[in-house]
Amino acid sequence: MRSVVLVLLLMAPLALAQGVSEAVDAGAPPVPAGTVALYASAATAAALATAALASFAGALLPTAAFEARGRPDPLALAGGFAIAALLNAAVLHLAVPLLTAMGQSGDVAASTKAARANAWRASRWALLGAAVGLVVLTAGAVAERDQFGSGQWPMLAGAGTLVASMGTFDVLEAVYAWQGFVAARREGNR
């Protein structure tokens, strides 16, 4: 079951990127399927690596709080989620558009700047969702600190919203960066 999920996880960006290529790329020689696959795989790997890095960095604050008090601090957890989300978003927004450069060829001009701009137009909504999740998580953490049991549902809902939003951000960033790249590529060929 896990391997099926993993395969689906890896194939989904490929299928999406391929679909985007076919839908948008009307004015330039088609991007080879192998290049699309390479980009999708690289973007997926970048997303996973960034998530791992961000999670590690985000865990430092709650871990330090635990070490200091011998018990977890809900607010430190919220802070850890904030750090992880910000780091994840920043690194991925910086890195993924650069990966589109692997679709460049000698006779076609393209722009990673256009890729990043197009990615941002879509992925910012996911970041907004993450921000909402973070606010709910923090509110729950404050309530929980005040009285045990009073903020756990908001904490769970907020964390769930934040994690889902960041997953969505990763997908949107990869797909729409590629779309921006392909669209710019067509423009550059006129």
Partner: protein, 421 residues
């Protein structure tokens, strides 16, 4: 998903496993232990590997008098020697000795215990307590506890080992050997007498469940083999009471082995009746209930997923018991529990039955901390920590105060609270 999993893993940390250490005589590979002390004796334990004669030497710690008792190990080498005729409230030393042709050939190494107070004695009592002792983890709190010479007895609130995965008699024995082979275990067991119950990991995680079917009787027999616990008239019965004069009476519960979900029974009706009657009639100033799984309520979803595995999941029995204690105004009740991988001191309920009752969660002595992102706190709970530790419980019958000190593996006192019971 990965994002969250990594965050949680990194936040909770991971302790490295320890390795077996120390040296014991091969004839007595797991050292010695004593348990279930009464005012006139105790149950003394050893595992003997050999075919010669074995004698037990018992002496007052100040050397005033001594006795030598021949003992007979069972077919597997276990010795459970019931020693009687001792003086109440006195510290004794004991040692098992192998003799061949009248000559001494091996010694177990010494152990010590204190007999319980005489029936009418009203004196301060100090006991230690832990739970959750995973044999694969560092066991520093046990080592620190074993260094103490002032613990009149030691409470084990369950998960004394992690036998998960064992399926056969030999499999369970192997797990017990692995656990008790650790030097901190041996040191603690030799340092004072034990009062023990079991929890789920003596059988399998969250027993009783589908995984525990067919294993419970095997696991219970191994518990009696390896622990200095007095078997009752019914061999399967773990619940029992031990009185230390008029100072304290320990009610040792079995909250795992008699559950009947269909009847809403967390403990059997017989056990519940025995407990309520015992609490009402006990002449002791303190009634310490060794409980394994907490009776406290834990509001919210983060601790809610395991609600069915504790008293809260059996609301009728829980309310009846707490209401009985409240309505009868039984003084001096202290709940001692474990299981949660966190130590805690606070009130059992936020309101209603149990709102004035006190529970202490002891341990973990060798485990990762509870991974919940929030621990119980004010106003219901005064203290909670995930740091590996053991608890010292001071019971002062003159004032009715129970003092709880939580001591980390490095010897630091990380919590110190007193309650008027």
């Amino acid at each position: 998903m990965l994002f969250t999993a990594l965050l949680v893993l990194a936040a909770t940390g991971c302790e490295s496993a320890g390795s077996p250490d120390g040296v014991t005589p091969p004839e007595f590979p797991l050292g010695v232990a004593s348990g279930d002390a009464t005012s006139e004796g105790a149950l003394l334990w050893a595992l003997y590997r050999g075919s010669a004669s074995v004698q037990l030497m018992v002496a007052l710690e100040d050397g005033a008098s001594s006795q030598t008792i021949p003992v007979t190990p069972d077919a597997e080498g276990f010795v459970h020697a019931e020693v009687r005729g001792l003086e109440p409230g006195r510290w004794y030393r004991y040692e098992f000795v192998e003799t061949l042709g009248g000559a001494e050939t091996a010694r177990s190494g010494p152990g010590r215990f204190r007999t319980a107070f005489g029936d009418d004695t009203l004196a301060p009592l100090r006991v230690g307590a832990v739970s959750c002792i995973n044999q694969r983890y560092p066991l520093l709190p046990l080592r620190r506890a074993a260094e103490r010479t002032d613990l009149d007895a030691f409470l084990l609130a369950g998960d004394t080992l992690y036998a998960d995965g064992a399926k056969t008699i030999d499999g369970f024995r192997s797990k017990w050997h692995e656990a008790l082979g650790r030097e901190p275990h041996r040191l603690l067991r030799a340092s004072t007498s034990l009062i023990a119950t079991w929890d789920d990991h003596e059988v399998v995680d969250n027993f009783p469940n589908a995984q525990s079917e067919g294993l419970v009787d095997i696991a219970r027999d191994r518990l009696f083999e390896f622990m200095p616990m007095r078997r009752q008239a019914q061999p399967e019965r773990l619940w029992r009471r031990l009185r230390w004069g008029r100072t304290a009476e320990f009610f040792v519960l079995d909250t795992r082995g008699e559950r009947n979900r269909a009847n809403g029974e967390y403990v059997s009706q017989a056990q519940l009746d025995w407990l309520t009657t015992g609490l009402s009639t006990s002449p002791a100033r303190f009634k310490v209930i060794l409980n394994s799984v907490p009776i406290s309520e834990f509001p919210g979803p983060l601790f809610g997923s395991q609600r069915e595995d504790r008293w809260e999941g059996f609301a009728t029995q829980r309310a009846a018991l707490l209401r009985h204690i409240d309505d009868a105004k039984i003084p001096g009740v202290l709940w001692v529990s474990g299981d949660f991988h966190l130590a805690l001191a606070g009130r059992v309920s936020r309101q209603g039955p149990g709102a004035s009752a006190i529970e202490v969660l002891v341990g973990p002595a060798g485990q990762r901390p509870n991974t919940s992102p929030t621990y119980p706190g004010k106003p219901q709970v005064d203290f909670a920590t995930g740091v590996n530790n053991f608890t010292v419980i001071d019971l002062d019958p003159a004032t009715g105060a129970a003092r709880l000190q939580f001591i980390a593996g490095d010897g630091r006192v990380i919590g110190d609270f007193s309650y008027a019971l």
